[in-house]
């Protein structure tokens, strides 16, 4: 092992990378754009539920009913309609999320002490959003009912009722950005490091310069270190940049330790470098390498719990996720950002990531050796 030779190779690699201005742009601009884009797009916050109303009763009761909706910040009454056909059209075109139809007999039924039905049409296309909207609507209805009963009876009915005090931890305002942005940080690091590593080796092979490298006195181990070190450095720098953006642009609190975060990034890069090298040994053109990278990234991404919760997956697939290094990295990164937990909680994730990383890296080096001989 000759560190001088490695140093020269690393230097060469950096020069090659940064010489091309467009390369620089890919490395610097791409992660930032991705973080900003994801940060603003991935948003499941419930705000502005768009409502269209048909009031066929026109009584004080129905007006009061409408007021409970218009007085609520979450609901936004888009239009008051006459014709149910118009309502259907608005729902079909996706212009409103919710249609509320008040039947003509609302006032008379309430005064008689009967139950008046209110028809609520929900656009269920996006089922998760629809579930949440329904829940909010039911809550409003319940409040309306309680107030009305109190008014009719002239007093509160004191019975032993349960008051559920719900406290949400780690992300008390249920802010989407707090949940997703740490995930995006992990994803950006994976994407860039994986792609750059695999391309770096393939390019040498495509241009025939690999042969030249092999005939130099460089040993295989030196070659591998020289080839991966620059990308580890670049990825760590990117990690720092995106973390800074997350913290200061999106004001995501980082509750835990930055040192642990750095440590986790290094362990995670072991896996991505391993996969990147592996891809470079099984591909011979850049097109193949990119397609193969894509092929790896998709399951890594989908089966990590980034957007789609792991608990929802069938058991067989849940087992598969244990092989996914991104799953552990995400748990660590969210644990550190949101929960502020330390090694005493996260050590199994660190351990799993280290084991997977070592296996992948060792395996890739083994294959790489064979290709060189």
């Amino acid at each position: 092992m000759n560190w001088l030779r490695i140093r020269e190779l690393v230097r060469k690699e950096f020069i090659v990378l940064f010489r091309d201005e467009r390369n620089r742009r890919v490395m610097v601009v791409a992660p930032i754009i991705m973080l900003l884009l994801f940060g603003y797009v991935v948003n499941y916050d419930i705000k502005n539920i768009r409502v269209a109303l048909i009031d066929q009763a026109h009584t004080s009761e129905s007006r009061k009913f409408i007021e409970t909706f218009s007085g609520n910040k979450i609901f936004m009454i888009k239009s008051y309609l006459q014709d149910p056909k118009e309502l259907e059209q608005l729902l079909l075109m996706g212009k409103v999320d919710l249609g509320i139809k008040i039947a003509p007999d609302m006032g008379s039924r309430i005064r008689k002490g009967e139950t008046a039905a209110v028809e609520i049409l929900v656009d269920g296309s996006m089922s998760n959003m629809a579930s949440i909207r329904i829940a909010y609507t039911m809550l409003i209805l319940e409040t309306f009912n309680q107030n009305l009963i109190k008014e009719i009876k002239g007093r509160d009915i004191n019975y032993g009722r349960i008051d559920a005090r719900i406290r949400t931890w780690y992300n008390p305002n249920l802010d989407s950005q707090h949940f997703f942005i740490p995930g995006i940080v992990a994803f950006v690091v994976m994407l860039i490091s994986l792609l750059l590593t695999s391309i770096a080796v393939i390019k040498e092979r495509e241009q025939g310069t690999m042969e030249q490298l092999i005939v130099t006195p460089l040993k295989a181990a030196e070659l591998i270190i020289g080839k991966t070190l620059p990308y580890i450095v670049i990825s760590v720098v990117q990690m720092i940049v995106v973390t800074i953006i997350a913290k200061f642009w999106f004001s995501i609190p980082i509750a835990g330790s930055l040192v642990l975060l750095f440590f986790a990034t290094c362990l995670f890069l072991l896996s991505t470098m391993g996969v990147g090298l592996f891809i470079s040994t099984v591909s011979s053109t850049q097109q193949q390498a990119m397609m193969t990278t894509f092929f790896f990234i998709l399951p890594f991404f989908m089966l990590s719990g980034f957007v789609f919760p792991i608990a929802n997956m069938p058991l067989g697939v849940q087992w598969l996720t244990y092989l996914n290094p991104l799953r552990y990295f995400l748990m660590i990164i969210r644990g550190i950002f949101l929960k502020g937990v330390g090694l005493h909680v996260l050590w199994p994730q660190y351990l799993a990531m280290a084991v997977i990383g070592l296996i992948l890296f060792a395996g890739a080096i083994g294959r790489f050796h064979k290709r060189l001989d």
């Binding site: 754009i33 948003n43 296309s125 996006m126 329904i134 249920l174 097109q287």
Partner: protein, 368 residues
């Protein structure tokens, strides 16, 4: 064109990937990826140990939305479970729970929830509220009966009807959306490499010397990929239907028409990226950035456009996938026909013409 086919066949891995990626995506999204929330893992602390609190817990466990994973000792242990991610919800019943209820006083229970994932916790919060509401109704009836009062009917009852996706399954909107993503991957990302490859290998000069003009070159390059992408669409439609019961409500032929049109746009975009960048690495990066990510993120696929900041909402208007997904949701969920969907079709046609023209002009300038 024949040459491009040869290229594809000579490189069987790219070809296989062009089919395997869609297959995996459909299977993955259909089976594994769901935004629906069921069986929320719940632990309970019962400080009260009475038949009233046990009744509450039994009802909670019987609800399809909650899955009681067990009892824990105290509130501190709930915190520990939440920290480790072993459970999502902890219900803490205070010691005076049954005493309060028996003496007709309102009594709190504490519900601790892991709020990291807002989608999950918003839905779960809805479930908790609905459950408690239902249980309170039961307590109210008991109270009224005990005191010989007549029952109180709720003045207003919401009759909720869900349209377009009656069972509220996320797969019903995710599967059609994934078709749009697949087309972009296969169409734009693969084709983004083809012209860049000619430049990198230096064969562009050879092509320029051939009696072939820019239009012919583009058509020849695009046709093989068109058929691959169309096959992918058919596979996806077929699998979605037989494996996951995601069935089109409107006509199959409108779907094919829309898909073909969208594939044209994707191919035109891919080829344009290829012509502009002239390098495979940059073309690929560009294609991912310009085609794949927007069609995943800015198209109403799983992330609602109405929640985005205004600026990004404007950007979604220039993302082709927005229009295709709008058409698909019309076809799959809403049973809309050409009569309602024509604006989206027109936009796609316009996009295709624009992209193809720009590309031709650029290639002409290069001397083709």
């Amino acid at each position: 064109m024949k040459k491009e086919f040869y290229h594809l066949i000579r490189d069987p891995r790219s070809l296989i990937l062009a089919f395997i990626i869609p297959l995996c995506l459909i299977l993955l999204f259909g089976y594994a990826l769901s935004l629906d929330v069921n069986n929320v893992g719940t632990v309970v602390v019962d400080y009260d140990h009475s038949d009233v609190s046990r009744d509450l817990i039994i009802h909670l466990g019987a609800s399809p939305y909650f899955h009681i994973e067990g009892y824990v000792r105290d509130a501190a242990q709930v915190t520990e479970y939440l920290d480790h991610g072993y459970t999502s919800v902890g219900v803490i019943i205070p010691p005076d729970f049954s005493r309060n209820i028996r003496s007709d006083r309102e009594t709190p229970i504490q519900v601790l929830m892991d709020g990291s994932d807002p989608n999950f916790s918003n839905i779960t919060r809805g479930y908790v509220n609905a459950f408690i509401q239902g249980y309170n109704q039961k307590l109210l009836t008991q109270f009224l009966n005990r005191n010989g009062m007549e029952s109180i009917k709720p003045p207003v009852e919401g009759r909720i009807r869900v349209w377009f996706n009656e069972d509220l399954e996320s797969r019903q909107f995710i599967i059609p959306g994934i078709i749009a993503v697949i087309i972009m991957i296969v169409g734009a990302i693969l084709t983004s490499l083809v012209i860049a490859r000619e430049y990198e290998n230096g064969t562009m000069e050879t092509i320029k010397s051939l009696p072939i003009n820019a239009g012919e070159l583009l058509v020849g390059k695009a046709i093989p990929y068109f058929f691959i992408a169309l096959t992918d669409v058919l596979i996806s439609v077929f699998l979605g239907q037989i494996l996951f019961g995601v069935v089109m409500k409107a006509s199959f032929w409108i779907m094919i028409l829309a898909s073909s049109l969208y594939i044209f746009v994707a191919l035109a975009l891919g080829l344009l990226i290829s012509t502009v960048t002239k390098s495979q690495l940059l073309a690929n990066q560009g294609a991912i950035l310009i085609t794949y990510l927007p069609s995943f993120l800015l198209s109403n696929f799983v992330f609602p456009i109405t929640n985005m900041p205004k600026v990004l909402q404007f950007v979604t208007y220039i993302v082709p996938a927005t229009y295709y997904i709008n058409i698909l949701s019309g076809i799959y969920l809403k049973d809309l026909g050409l009569f309602n969907l024509w604006p989206s079709f027109v936009v796609l046609v316009f996009m295709f013409i624009l992209l193809a023209t720009v590309n031709m002009i650029l290639l002409k300038k290069e001397g083709l």
